[in-house]
Symmetry: D3
Subunit: 254 residues, 6 copies
Amino acid sequence: MRILVINPNISDSVTALIGSEAARSASPGTQLTLRTAPFGVAYIETRFEAMVGAYAAANVAAEHAQGHDAVIVAAFGDPGLAALREVLPMPVLGLTESALASACLLGPRFSIIAISQRIQAWYREVVHANGLEGRLASIRALDRPLARIDGIQEDHSQALLALCERAVAEDGADVLILAGAPLAGLARQLAGRLPVPVVDGVSSAVRQAEMLHGLQPGSARRGSMAPPPAKPQRGLPPALAALLQDAQARGASA
Amino acid sequence: MRILVINPNISDSVTALIGSEAARSASPGTQLTLRTAPFGVAYIETRFEAMVGAYAAANVAAEHAQGHDAVIVAAFGDPGLAALREVLPMPVLGLTESALASACLLGPRFSIIAISQRIQAWYREVVHANGLEGRLASIRALDRPLARIDGIQEDHSQALLALCERAVAEDGADVLILAGAPLAGLARQLAGRLPVPVVDGVSSAVRQAEMLHGLQPGSARRGSMAPPPAKPQRGLPPALAALLQDAQARGASA
Amino acid sequence: MRILVINPNISDSVTALIGSEAARSASPGTQLTLRTAPFGVAYIETRFEAMVGAYAAANVAAEHAQGHDAVIVAAFGDPGLAALREVLPMPVLGLTESALASACLLGPRFSIIAISQRIQAWYREVVHANGLEGRLASIRALDRPLARIDGIQEDHSQALLALCERAVAEDGADVLILAGAPLAGLARQLAGRLPVPVVDGVSSAVRQAEMLHGLQPGSARRGSMAPPPAKPQRGLPPALAALLQDAQARGASA
Amino acid sequence: MRILVINPNISDSVTALIGSEAARSASPGTQLTLRTAPFGVAYIETRFEAMVGAYAAANVAAEHAQGHDAVIVAAFGDPGLAALREVLPMPVLGLTESALASACLLGPRFSIIAISQRIQAWYREVVHANGLEGRLASIRALDRPLARIDGIQEDHSQALLALCERAVAEDGADVLILAGAPLAGLARQLAGRLPVPVVDGVSSAVRQAEMLHGLQPGSARRGSMAPPPAKPQRGLPPALAALLQDAQARGASA
Amino acid sequence: MRILVINPNISDSVTALIGSEAARSASPGTQLTLRTAPFGVAYIETRFEAMVGAYAAANVAAEHAQGHDAVIVAAFGDPGLAALREVLPMPVLGLTESALASACLLGPRFSIIAISQRIQAWYREVVHANGLEGRLASIRALDRPLARIDGIQEDHSQALLALCERAVAEDGADVLILAGAPLAGLARQLAGRLPVPVVDGVSSAVRQAEMLHGLQPGSARRGSMAPPPAKPQRGLPPALAALLQDAQARGASA
Amino acid sequence: MRILVINPNISDSVTALIGSEAARSASPGTQLTLRTAPFGVAYIETRFEAMVGAYAAANVAAEHAQGHDAVIVAAFGDPGLAALREVLPMPVLGLTESALASACLLGPRFSIIAISQRIQAWYREVVHANGLEGRLASIRALDRPLARIDGIQEDHSQALLALCERAVAEDGADVLILAGAPLAGLARQLAGRLPVPVVDGVSSAVRQAEMLHGLQPGSARRGSMAPPPAKPQRGLPPALAALLQDAQARGASA
């Protein structure tokens, strides 16, 4: 199968981190296309940045989704995920949603380990939007400035490990989620050293995309995930306009 | 005070509806600036359309907010509201949030009357994101095609009245919310004819903006509504880029 | 417009605090009538005291509401609020409900700063009854004896400021609510010194009363906020008996 | 043991219904004192009426509680229950709380059968305040005028039975609660004819009072059920003033 | 009345603890039969152990329930409780459910004091399954190895008292629940020394069984607590097979 | 990889249905071992039957899990799932949990289609235990007698299709879950004919097992999913006793 992996942010070095972990995670026969947002910010900590990232991801998807069997929005927090799910004909996955799905199969309560204090409020809202706040043991986050977004794993390895251990010992976490594309691959490294199962978003999203591709559950012609009803549009970038128009046409013929 | 009212959609005729009701609602001394999104769709029923509307609203705000004391995002569902609240220095209000605030002062449980079946899922998610699903009696919606978005009030007046009455009689609504910019002004017309208080988003948002302007509660320098932390950005439209940069600078100096 | 502001407690000096902040908050053209409960306790910390305050507020309203456009029950916790809303023909507001409505327009999560340890349980129940516990970051309270109920702001200014700062730094509050009539006016003083928006109940209630007066949303003839159905009564104080009888009659003719 | 049973309403004939069922329910050795509120309304359907009933119940308790081992507030909805629990030295029970406790021991989900449409909103709020809305299958209520409050069981027997059956068949009720003092004793009559267990408030309260008397769990000297902290009071009826003063003194010496 | 009390675990010494407290709690005229599980573990801390205990309890009930008026599953966490309630013709009670019912009549929020760190997750899930997590102030537990399961009260008396006090002072508990059969009887000893009411499961279950026996609320012929529909079975221990067959027959004839 | 698939019920013909769908779902290289419970009932509709099934599944796992990379408990409702997860060293999956994980990746709200009226209460409790009731649109179930448990798909095909369509049209389902091992494979058949994505438990569990096997997230040495602490046991079937003993030993050495 072919998966388009979209970094909704502008950091090519983070895209590389994502790509490496995605490649390590993918089954034989899975091909990955990686794309970085042409506009936006370096990484997402706030709702404004997520709003920009959502629009950027949509533009990337509009240009590149064709020919793929699944699309992954590769930022924790899943900017634009539900929006894209309405208009794309193939499964769309996000890092948070996929990590939550994996975590829920491993134990009743999970903690999320994050890269900055500010990012926690947004993550909590995303967990709430997923209806899973009842299983959230805690969110714990680094509290130091991030010198380089693509070197967090190295620069803060001890602090990240300490956050994980405290989440288990003090918050009752049965599973750990290492959150954020900049931490892609860290779960794989720490799996043996942590006292509970640990997952991250990138590997979960790749594996869950393969899982859905195997299930072939069908697509939505009705309900709130069906293509948007036809209505006038104006001024959108050509690819995005075409994406919406195609979806509307697909919906109308359903 | 000066309020910027942004229609996140491209329908000039809906902007006119919004403007009329906003003008009827405003106190003497309140000045209104109305702006229509330069790109997007005719009205919002889905998450994809809301995502586009959020980005459009942000661009309009970036170009026009300066010199205003408050900004209103004038689409029910509040696309981009929390995002703009992070970056703008003045209060930002949305139709849903404002109508919910008004409704909560009038009775324990409210129903939302909406213009299309499809729109209900998104509205329910917005109420959930506002943490108020416990007070939602029901969402009821028109189930006929909308011939013209700016004539719904006339074309479907009997059906809208019937939805209101059923929400009270069958769902236990203590308050009614007439949802969506296309219904702006209808609450005012129906207030006497309905057996419970009725509010709409536009008048609520204008009045709540005045209310906040009177309170002068201060702005956020910390917490999740403070300006986003400084980080690299690239490729955003100039006004949006400047808005984010200014916010980051304001945050850094806080 | 004319607003009746009822202190459900017997402290004239607290009524004076309320009156000062209400006057500072009111728009030009708003006239305030202040009344103190003729019986009851000095301030409310417990459910028993709230029960007494509710009945006292009802008696005051029964005697003085006529000729006013709105009524404010001026104790945090809103004793008797929903009861009065059923029987009075004009909008009725409470300090808690109004402060919550204001806070919800300023950020996703709020903390409540309170004057005593004991009062916290009751406040939590009131937030729960309002359906907003999902947005409650924390309640923090003074833990020292209160030498004089009308001098708390001066006697405990440092401690109150410290509670505010901890609510933001440790509990994730995006907005602060300074709770209780004895703190009326403090939000106004602290607004500039706190890192997030801060509101109090008195100014919120006055401004929200003006807001509702502007909206003219209509009153309840059906639903659970309509006047109580007619039934025998006996032995109530004359004004209260008349208030109930009038409401029943208004309901019967609706 | 001696139990004081307070009808917070003025209907002597309902007090008689309560007394009959209480007597049928009590164990040998349990003595019952019955008192009717000297002021208030005939029965409670609304929050205003509940507020009046709470104050009336408090006055009755203040005059008559001494010498009893438990006090029952005998109106469904439990007006004044938490307030009285703070100030009385013996256990205080309510019809709703007791019926909920019994029902929760008989099956996962319960329905409440009520005497009027209007009463349902208040009951739902009481279940919510008890934190048990997750187990509430439904509230179903008579929709006809009540010719006489003490003859509902006879006048509407078929309709009440039909409501019970629909709650089981359509709402998934595992247990039925017949709500309201006017229905006291009906559960006993219908127990054999209904397909699920059925409880009412009066018999549950009497039996739960005996249960608590047997447990002797101790009383609250701290926490939110401890006596109210000392503070000035003024103008309360003598018995109520003494009740509060005694409670404050008991609290101060704890 | 006759009550069968089943210890779902193999510890005869814990059965003796349970029996002593049950005897102290029972009213005159209540006869107790005590049975210990013939297979299983010493006490339950985990879901696996609870699963084994549930099956063991069912086997004991199948062999011994006949001739009793109520059955108590005497392990906190209530292993097998809902299952047995479906198949036994008399009321079935559990320690947790009964203690929760008692606690809810004494104050709004309760804390659970437990014997081991590991046991807390299971207890939290049981409270969640009972729909009462909104009233759970905290779970606090011993953190030392348990030298002997039948001597915890003596070996850890100071630590248990300290946990109780912290739950009141720091977590806002209005009521304390001493959880687990190994603590049976401790509530009775501590009742005078703790600042809030305290209950345990064994005495609550015995008293609540008597309470239900007095109410005679009827049994379930429909709903989810009715006997299981008839279907083939195979290979169950004879008594268990007969229990199920009898229940199916009773259900078929209902 | 090697997966052990346990039918916790005694129906060999249902095991065959499960096996066929599991085989159709498995990736090349995945080997399946199928085992039927040696004792129990034909299928699970109630908590008692689930309790029996849990114990039966544990016994089968104890005898056959060794040498496998994952274990699937193949009854909707997941009897014994959390229990087995504590004691087995490899991932353990259930039909419900796996179907929920798949459904959550396809849309916000799901409906469950079930084979009998009685089964619905149990399913709702399982969804609640998974913390996902906020995303449950409805449960709809057949209301006719089941002539043969292995022929439901054929005997009730029209009724099942109708339930699916009503869940989408009337309940707002974005995704459908066909629940219960007797429906294994039906989702595959209906996928094209239904207007929203449809999943079942068997194929989801097989694919999710492969997904987890790919992730290698590590196992629990701490938290509530770690092996049970060592304690005496007695009288368990030899394989089960050994399973528990091994788990305890693994835990002790962690």
